[in-house]
């Protein structure tokens, strides 16, 4: 017995010695001729599948309508399913970069996927474009230089002007918030309260946090009438949002208690499965499919024709991102091998998209157009978000100086930008 295993042991030792000294193969770099390869990662199975498919639809529509080569090179997109799983998302990004030597990564959907993929892209320097992932810190406290939120946003960004607007224009003073209890919900709610309470001095009577996937909102909704709030600020996502709006209506709150929605509560992707309960709801967003501006209407009609539905923010953002990247590629004549020049070109672009006028700030996040929107019914019976007020040039820092803003921690359940919290940190 011993003899055979000795042999194995000696072989192992020899192999280990060999393994320890020689350098291995290096991963390939991007090319400067042939098609420009794009690796698109989005969940097409699992809980994010509906949004992921919208992302792919928007991206495909742009290249279908603009099939001409960019800077003499064709655009070739490959799609990979992340299944909403962080590990899979990183592996797929790795496969695109190391196996297929793509020129850029576009995607993913979820914040945790995006953060993990960003950390990977940091090690390879591959350009990463994030139209959807909105985790604040990705372009704030932990930036990755080669990851840019082309046509993207930070969760708190549209909600800061919204907080001021609600205080100034609606005259509400006391809020009860009900937000989904995860990073996105906490950042959305924090952005709203940072201005409504932290700046204007509005009062927060209560903050309710429901876990994602809440099957029944009764226990939360029943607390509202006796709370003394003037209005409710709500942020729910996906199927939760659909259930929330139904129950809001069933409880008889609709048209009795003012409801202000965070972005995606009544996004077009959800309006498709909502009915009269959503009509008239006011919310904020960096996308408004009911915007009468020409680029928006053209995109709406093209999308409606192609997919027989109105475009959600997921589709609008990837469509706009495609337009943005196409313009940058024109600028560098399709030469993606000089990554720095390509990324600089992306950073310098300023354009009018279906989402409005967009350009990047120096942190890699768009200075965007923000819309206060109301859900209305179109003549053809579809619901959509029509802007009632527009804010141009909204930065992820709103009107705050970036340096001062970045001294506060990222929004969480412990930090919602309230006056006493700001005071405790010595920021106010």
């Amino acid at each position: 017995m011993g003899h055979a295993w000795h042999l194995v042991g000696i072989l192992t030792a020899v192999a280990l010695l060999i393994g320890a000294c020689a350098p291995p193969l290096a991963p390939g770099a991007s090319q400067s001729s042939g098609p420009i390869k794009v690796g698109f990662i989005a969940p097409t199975t699992g809980t994010g599948a509906a949004s992921g498919n919208d992302m792919i639809n928007g991206w495909k529509l742009y290249w279908k309508n603009n099939p001409s080569p960019v800077g003499g090179r064709q655009i070739q997109t490959s799609y990979e399913d992340t299944a909403g799983d962080v590990n899979t998302a990183v592996t797929k990004a790795r496969q695109f970069v190391e196996q297929q030597q793509v020129d850029m990564i576009v995607g993913p959907l979820f914040a945790n996927e995006g953060l993990a993929v960003a950390d990977y892209l940091k090690t390879t320097g591959t350009p990463g474009f994030y139209p959807i992932v909105s985790a604040d810190d990705l372009t704030q406290r932990s930036r990755v230089d080669n990851v840019i939120r082309v046509a993207g946003w930070t969760s708190s960004q549209p909600h800061m002007p919204f907080g001021e607007w609600v205080y100034d224009n609606q005259g509400y003073r006391k809020v009860l918030t009900i937000c989904t209890d995860y990073a996105f919900g906490q950042e959305v709610c924090g952005g709203f309260l940072r201005t409504f309470a932290g700046e204007r001095g509005g009062q927060v009577v209560n903050q309710l946090w429901d876990p994602i996937g809440t099957p029944d909102f009764s226990s939360y909704l029943s607390q509202i009438p006796s709370s003394g709030a003037d209005f409710v600020f709500a942020l729910q996502v996906g199927a939760d949002a659909v259930r929330f709006m139904q129950q809001w209506s069933q409880f008889g709150y609709k048209d009795r208690i003012p409801l202000m929605g965070g972005e995606v509560l009544v996004d077009q992707s959800l309006l498709r499965s909502m009915g009269p309960e959503a009509e008239g709801i006011v919310s904020v967003g960096h996308w408004a499919e009911g915007n009468p501006a020409q680029p928006t209407q053209d995109f709406d009609n093209a999308y409606l024709k192609e997919y027989n539905q109105l475009p959600s923010y997921y589709a609008a953002a990837t469509y706009s991102a495609a337009e943005w990247i196409a313009q940058a590629l024109q600028k560098v004549n399709g030469n993606t091998s000089d990554r720095k020049a390509f990324l600089d070109a992306v950073r310098a672009i300023e354009l009018d998209t279906p989402m409005g006028h967009l350009k990047l700030d120096e942190y890699g996040n768009p200075i965007a157009t923000v819309y206060i929107r109301r859900v209305e019914r179109r003549p053809d019976g579809l619901l959509w978000n029509v802007p009632i007020q527009t804010f141009q040039g909204v930065s992820q820092f709103w009107n705050f100086p970036p340096d001062a803003y970045l001294k506060q921690p990222v929004y969480s359940r412990d930090f919602q930008g309230l006056p006493d919290q700001l005071k405790a940190l010595g920021l106010q």
Binding site: I18, A20, T88, T91, Q99, A116, D119, Y182
Partner: protein
């Protein structure tokens, strides 16, 4: 690496040598992508082996092992990324924390068997996940913890591959010795008949607890390796889906065979990461394979391979992992303490 037969036969030695050489030469043979995928197989293989100690040898399938792994992953993530510890004490602390959690839940779990054991381990996994998901000031909630830097000698992908390979080999040998030791035989005895073992004077509860701790320790090592693999940890990596997937690896490869679960990990990681690039309906393929295994090879892939081997040889009747499916304790004839 196969320690099953006391006297290794030449085909087994040849296979071992081939596996060793391919394993060691991999960074020279394959691109960085495949090296990363194999690294992932080794990490999940180790996790699957830690489940096999309980599920295959003790006959009690834990349904929260990704949570146990998560304890180590989160502790090391926090200590390295946020508290800026150096890696050796961080690893020690991560494993200590995992053992502590395993001890607490082990004390509850060993008093049960069958479905109750499954429920307690499920709760264990859900609690860790819930903490990771809700305790945002420490865990970063859904955004997770980033920047978990690897030891300075294992930063590049192929260095890390060798690092994981060595850790995996050491753990595999230790686990192999464990399940073949008198202690491991007692575990098998408990699996086959708990009441008989108790009658024979064995301290069944203590053996179960020690097995639970050992399983937790190796899951913890897998957690440390996992945290370093993506240098990122978030709740979705340790949720119930992740736990179930790890159990699937064990069932697929062959419970009670130790190396079978590694094979299962290889199959699942391969389908998820490589096959999915070519087949959009890869979850269907995974489902079909699983149904196939349950219907035609209940002892898993490795178990089925061994069965054919046993048929060709004579004399060996008892199969490894034969009783491993009896996780509900229907044939143990014992009642919970």
């Amino acid at each position: 690496m196969r320690l099953v037969t006391a006297r290794p036969t030449w085909p087994v030695i040849a296979l071992t040598v081939v596996v060793l050489i391919v394993g060691l030469a991999l960074p020279y043979l394959a691109t960085s992508f495949y090296v990363s995928v194999v690294t992932q197989v080794l990490v999940f293989g180790l996790l699957a082996m830690s489940i096999d100690v309980l599920g295959g040898y003790l006959g009690l399938m834990p349904l929260g092992q990704a949570g146990v792994m998560g304890v180590a992953a989160y502790v090391i993530a926090y200590l390295i990324s946020k508290a800026h510890w150096s890696w050796p004490p961080a690893v020690a602390m991560a494993l200590a924390a995992t053992l502590l959690v395993a001890l607490v839940f082990g004390l509850l779990a060993v008093r049960t068997s069958g479905i109750f054991f499954v429920m307690i381990t499920l709760a264990e996994g859900m609690l860790v996940w819930g903490l990771a998901y809700r305790w945002s000031s420490v865990t970063g909630a859904e955004n997770g913890i980033r920047g978990i830097s690897r030891p300075e000698f294992a930063t590049v992908y192929w260095q890390y591959y060798y690092f994981v390979l060595v850790a995996f080999a050491v753990c595999a040998v230790l686990l192999g010795l464990l399940v073949r030791s008198p202690f491991g035989l007692v575990l098998k005895g408990i699996r086959d008949s708990e009441s008989r073992m108790r009658t024979l004077g064995y301290n069944v509860t203590l053996h179960k607890l020690l097995a639970f701790l050992a399983s937790g320790l190796f899951a913890g090592i897998a957690g440390v390796l996992y945290a370093w693999y993506n240098q990122f940890i978030s709740p979705s990596a340790i949720n119930i889906t992740a736990s179930t997937e790890a159990v699937l690896m064990v069932v697929l490869g062959g419970p009670g065979t130790l190396l079978g679960p590694v094979l299962g990990a290889g199959v699942i990681v391969f389908i998820k990461n490589i096959l999915s690039a070519y087949v959009a309906r890869w979850p269907t393929i995974m489902g079909l394979i699983f149904i196939g295994v349950v219907l035609f090879a209940q002892e898993g892939i490795l178990g089925a391979l061994r069965r054919t081997q046993v048929r060709t040889r004579s004399g060996r009747v008892q199969l490894h992992g034969e009783k491993a499916w009896d996780t509900l304790g229907t044939s143990s004839g014992s009642s919970p303490l």
